[in-house]
């Protein structure tokens, strides 16, 4: 892993904790940025690299949970590792439901934290890739004509050409032509691949509608 390939953010109101975590994380070769409050972190522009957030639950002003909610609202997806001096179960449940990656009680074993960070970064990296594929697929899908989108919708449902033609009141030949254009434009080498791509698009159709 290179230092440029990822970033770990630490948000804690306690300077000692910030310094200690920073040193520990840097000791395994990760880049670290520390913030003394949630507001301070929010002022930073969203990261482009795979990253994770080590967040203290109890802080003056916005608490860790507040920050988690705020980030979700802003659509800034980042895995969060909560650390707390006195974690309780309701708080843990709340954090995990909101998508927390890990919940650690202070003081924690160094390895537990570092493992959690590595896993979070890997997950973030994967989700970043997924996010990149989706953008490509959306772009490709946008190149289809309306007739081709209609045909594609029916084809990925597994309908034979004949039935597609019947449904669309066109000839079977026409269906075949559309189908070839679709495969070309979507860069799908086979029908299963087309199905996977359209499935991905369909899952993220809501953001698409907002985009």
């Amino acid at each position: 892993m290179t230092s440029a390939s990822s970033m770990v953010f630490v948000v804690d109101d306690d300077q000692s904790v910030r310094e200690a975590l920073s040193s520990l994380i840097r000791s395994i070769g990760l880049d670290v940025e520390t913030y003394a409050s949630a507001h301070e972190y929010l002022r930073r522009p969203p990261q482009q690299l795979p990253a994770c957030l080590v967040l203290d639950v109890r802080m003056p002003g916005l608490s860790g949970l507040d920050l988690q909610r705020e980030l979700a609202q802003q659509g800034r997806e980042i895995p969060i590792i909560f650390v707390t001096a006195h974690g309780d179960i309701p708080m843990t449940v709340k954090a995990m439901k909101a998508g927390a990656a890990e919940f650690l009680s202070k003081p924690f074993r160094d390895q537990d934290l570092l493992d959690a960070i590595c896993q979070a970064l890997a997950r973030d990296r994967a989700s970043m890739a997924a996010r990149a594929d989706l953008a490509e697929f959306r772009w490709r899908y946008a190149t289809l004509t309306q007739r081709e989108k209609d045909v594609a919708t029916l084809v990925v449902r597994g309908l034979p050409n004949k039935q597609v033609a019947a449904k669309l009141h066109v000839s079977e030949i026409t269906v075949k032509v559309h189908r070839r254009h679709i495969m070309l434009k979507m860069e799908a080498k086979s029908l299963p691949e087309l199905v996977r791509i359209t499935e991905t698009l369909r899952l993220h159709s809501s953001p698409e509608s907002h985009t």
């Binding site: 904790v17 040193s23 520990l24 840097r26 395994i28 202070k106 924690f108 160094d110």
Partner: protein
């Protein structure tokens, strides 16, 4: 013999002879001669002496002979005379001669002497056996003696002559006197006889006069008695008459008391109060009156001093001054004893039969009068009773004709003036049959009938309900029925009252029976007299079961005292009623709470007072209250636990932060050192931070330790305003939820104190929490007052006051002891720790009772030294 002695003897003898006339002076001749002979025999020591004298009085010769020492003549006088005559011859010798001793042996010498110039008065012989007899002197003595005797005899003769003359005179006088006396006696006898006759006539006359006066008096008395005299007056008249009759000194009249059977003095003359008191109520037969009453006959005690039966009363009789008494009983016509008339006498006395007979007559007469008087009084009383009676009293003939109606009866029936009516006319038509078929036959059969028959008012015609008693009146002597009578009462008023009472009773019974609240009545001993349905349901007992119980049986034992005290106050009338929340046992053993009101029901007719208690079952409300209190207590506990949890959490946070940093730094340090090549700079930085953070953790821990128990203090100058407001922040919630007003008074310019901040806050917090808890159960307003100000030159006082109940005197001593708590769930450390904290800060903490409600806890702390601004 000496001459002198002889002379002396002779002189003596002569004197003796000379003394003889003194002895015989006034005597008769023979007595004189006798004395003379005795004298010479003795003086001249003769063997005998003899004399023959002529007694002038007797006019006869008397011979006398005397022997020495009065010896009797050993021979007969005749013999002696014969012997003497034989010796001397007829004449007495003029010269002494010796002759044979006629009285013995030998010879005696005889000397003769004579009485008178010649021997006309008599002659005497002296004889002695002495040979020298008679000497010259002896002869002389004899002659002297003879002369003296002669003189004496002459005197005697004269005296005799005088005496004889006197005797003669006396005899004649006596004779005459006897004659006169005889005549006189005759006369006297006649006089006496006449006087006796006259006396008898007089006595008879007196007796007749007395009898007459007595009879007159009796008649007068009867006349007066028959008049309208009062009984007392009659009694006194009778008594005076009896006293006069007996000529007695005192007297009294006693009447039988029919109730006690004793005798009561009703009239008296001459007795003291003490005496009357003594004989106030006679029953036994020791007194004359008592005896007379018992015997029913006149009793006379002639002398109380000697009468054995009267012995017990002698002293009082003596004091009263009488010795004799007579008591005469008197009886009514039925021979029933009525009383006694007694008269008393200063001297022992026995009244004559005549007097006693008269007294008896008197007494009988008085008795008749007294009896009629008594009967009249009785009649008058009865008459006034009838007149004044509020009842209807009427008398009718056996045939039913109304003869008498008393005024009240007339008024009731509207009868006026004379009227003639049948008893049936008095009765309303509807009840006439009842009178005829029920009442009158019952009266005939049983003598009386009780029941209700309505009369009618003659003016208004209204029916008057009457409770009647109809009865027949019988002649006392014959027992024959002579009239019908009724005593009856108008019951219309009582009927109305009864009706009202019944209505009231019904109303109240309805209230009592249907009331939702329990009602009971208890007697003085707390026993149930009555209990209504609601109470029975409330307590689970039937009324019969309750009537076997007392108040204490259904009251928890620990409440007895209070309940009894309240009841006592009611009974003593110190309170008119009371209202209290009390607990009762149900039959099933459960406790119920009652809102109890109690009052005393005043008794009528001296019956014991009853207590009425009204109980509203408030168990449900109490339960709710209990649950609420429980919930509050739970909440308080939860709050406390939460507070503790939060405290623990903040402690954990405080310690955990540096601890977490230390752990993280240590891990980092190891990793920097384990890197290839080791990054010593980073490792060193991490190690430095470890030291710093560990120190910080330690710091926190030591502060907490100091907070919890005595440890190192961090004394700094503290601004109390700031410290206290931080603490208020902790308790604000509690103050709000418990509606406690907080008054904070911090005097401006109060100097800072020199103390450990956390400890100080701990103490203030503890005191405030205590104050809040103390006011949990008191009514509004609940006020927590925090006052801060200077205390002298170098100290500041912080006072926390509440308006709670205050601390009980018994607990006051112990509240600062460890493990002593007045709170149910307190561990008893708060005040102990607070005090040790304040003392560790050179201050002191104490508690004082407020003037009004509640308690004030206050402490003083030294101000910050000038070096610490």
């Amino acid at each position: 013999m000496h001459h002198k002695q002889a002379v002396d003897v002779q002189i003596n003898d002569l004197i003796s002879i000379q003394a003889l006339p003194a002895i015989w002076s006034g005597q008769q001749s023979y007595a004189i001669v006798g004395i003379l002979l005795e004298g010479v025999v003795r003086i001249l020591q003769l063997d005998f002496a003899y004399a023959r004298v002529r007694d002038s009085l007797l006019d006869a010769s008397i011979e006398l002979i005397r022997l020495p020492q009065c010896r009797a003549l050993p021979i007969s006088a005749e013999q002696f005379r014969q012997d003497l005559r034989d010796c001397l011859g007829g004449d007495l010798p003029t010269m002494p001669v010796a002759i044979p001793n006629p009285l013995g042996q030998g010879v005696v010498k005889i000397a003769s002497f004579h009485f008178g110039v010649h021997d006309e008065l008599g002659v005497a012989l002296a004889a002695s056996q002495r040979s020298d007899f008679p000497t010259k002197n002896e002869m002389l003595l004899l002659r002297v003696a003879g002369s003296a005797a002669a003189i004496g005899m002459q005197e005697a003769r004269v005296l005799n002559a005088h005496r004889r003359a006197a005797d003669e005179l006396e005899r004649r006088v006596a004779e005459r006197t006897a004659q006169l006396t005889a005549a006189n006696e005759e006369l006297s006898r006649e006089i006496v006889e006449r006087k006796r006759a006259e006396g008898a006539a007089l006595v008879l006359k007196d007796a007749l006069a007395f009898e007459l006066s007595t009879m007159t008096r009796l008649h007068e008395l009867s006349t007066r008695l028959a008049g309208n005299a009062e009984l007392q007056q009659i009694l006194e008249e009778v008594l005076d008459a009896a006293i006069g009759l007996h000529n007695a000194d005192f007297g009294l009249v006693q009447l039988c008391n029919t109730e006690t059977g004793g005798l009561e003095v009703v009239a008296q003359r001459g007795f003291s109060k003490e005496f009357l008191e003594y004989f106030r109520d006679i029953r036994d037969d020791t007194s004359a009156a008592g005896r007379a009453l018992q015997r029913q006959a006149c009793v006379v005690i002639e002398d109380v001093e000697t009468d054995p039966g009267f012995a017990p009363h002698r002293a009082i009789a003596a004091a009263a001054g009488f010795r004799a008494v007579q008591s005469t009983p008197f009886r009514d016509r039925g021979s029933k004893p009525l009383g006694i008339i007694s008269t008393h006498f200063r001297r022992p006395h026995r009244p004559t039969e005549h007097d006693l007979r008269l007294t008896d007559l008197f007494a009988r007469h008085a008795a008749a009068t007294i009896e009629s008087k008594l009967a009249e009084d009785e009649r008058r009383k009865l008459a006034s009773l009838v007149e004044a009676s509020p009842d209807f009293i009427g008398i009718a003939s056996l045939e039913g004709e109304v003869q008498f109606v008393n005024p009240q009866g007339r008024k009731l029936l509207g009868l006026e003036g004379d009227f003639a009516a049948s008893i049936f006319e008095l009765v309303i038509e509807a009840d006439r049959e009842k009178l005829a078929k029920q009442a009158l036959p019952a009266v005939t059969r049983d003598g009386h009938w009780d029941g209700e028959i309505r009369f009618r008012n003659f003016k208004t015609g209204h029916a008057i309900p009457m409770q009647q008693r109809i009865f027949s009146i019988s002649d006392a002597a014959t027992g024959r029925r002579i009239a019908l009578a009724t005593v009856s009462r108008d019951v219309s008023e009582s009927k109305r009252t009864e009706q009202l009472r019944q209505e009231s009773e019904l109303r109240w019974r309805a209230v009592y029976e249907n009331s939702a609240v329990g009602i009971w009545l208890t007697d003085a001993a707390g026993r149930f007299v009555a209990a209504n349905r609601a109470l029975q349901d409330m307590l689970g007992y039937t009324e019969v079961e309750l009537q076997k119980l007392s108040l204490n049986d259904i009251t928890p034992e620990e409440d007895w005292e209070g309940a009894q005290a309240r009841i006592d106050q009611l009974r003593e009338r110190s309170i008119p009623e009371y209202h209290a929340q009390q607990r009762y046992y149900r039959k099933d053993g459960c406790i119920i709470w009652g809102n109890t009101s109690a009052a005393l029901i005043p008794s009528v007719d001296n019956a014991p007072n009853l207590l009425v208690e009204i109980i509203e079952d408030i168990s449900a409300r109490k339960q709710t209250e209990g649950a609420l209190a429980q919930a509050q207590a739970d909440l308080a506990r939860v709050t406390r636990v939460t507070l503790m949890g939060e405290l623990a959490a903040s402690i954990a946070h405080e310690v955990n932060q540096p601890l977490a940093a230390v752990v993280a730094n240590a891990s980092a340090c190891r990793r920097w050192l384990a890197a290839a090549p080791p990054n010593t700079a980073e490792a060193s930085d991490a190690a430095d931070r470890i030291i710093r953070d560990a120190a910080r953790a330690s710091d926190v821990i030591s502060r907490i330790r100091g907070f919890l128990r005595r440890g190192e203090l961090r004394k700094v100058p503290l601004d109390l305003d700031e410290v206290i407001h931080e603490v208020i922040g902790f308790v604000q919630d509690k103050l709000n939820t418990r509606l406690i007003e907080l008054h904070v008074e911090i005097v401006p310019g109060t100097p800072r104190v020199f103390a450990d901040r956390i400890q100080l806050q701990q103490v203030v917090l503890n005191l405030m929490l205590n104050a809040i808890e103390a006011m949990e159960k008191v009514a509004q307003p609940r006020v927590l007052r925090l006052a801060v100000g200077s205390h002298g030159e170098n100290a500041v006082r912080i006072a926390v006051s509440d308006s709670g109940p205050g601390i009980a005197a018994a607990q006051r001593q112990r509240i600062f002891d460890a493990f002593y708590s007045t709170k149910a769930d307190g561990i008893g450390m708060g005040l102990a720790i607070s005090r040790s904290i304040i003392e560790a800060n050179q201050g002191r903490l104490w508690a004082t009772k407020n003037a009004g409600r509640g308690e004030t806890f206050q402490f003083v702390l030294p101000t910050a030294a000038p070096g610490h601004p």
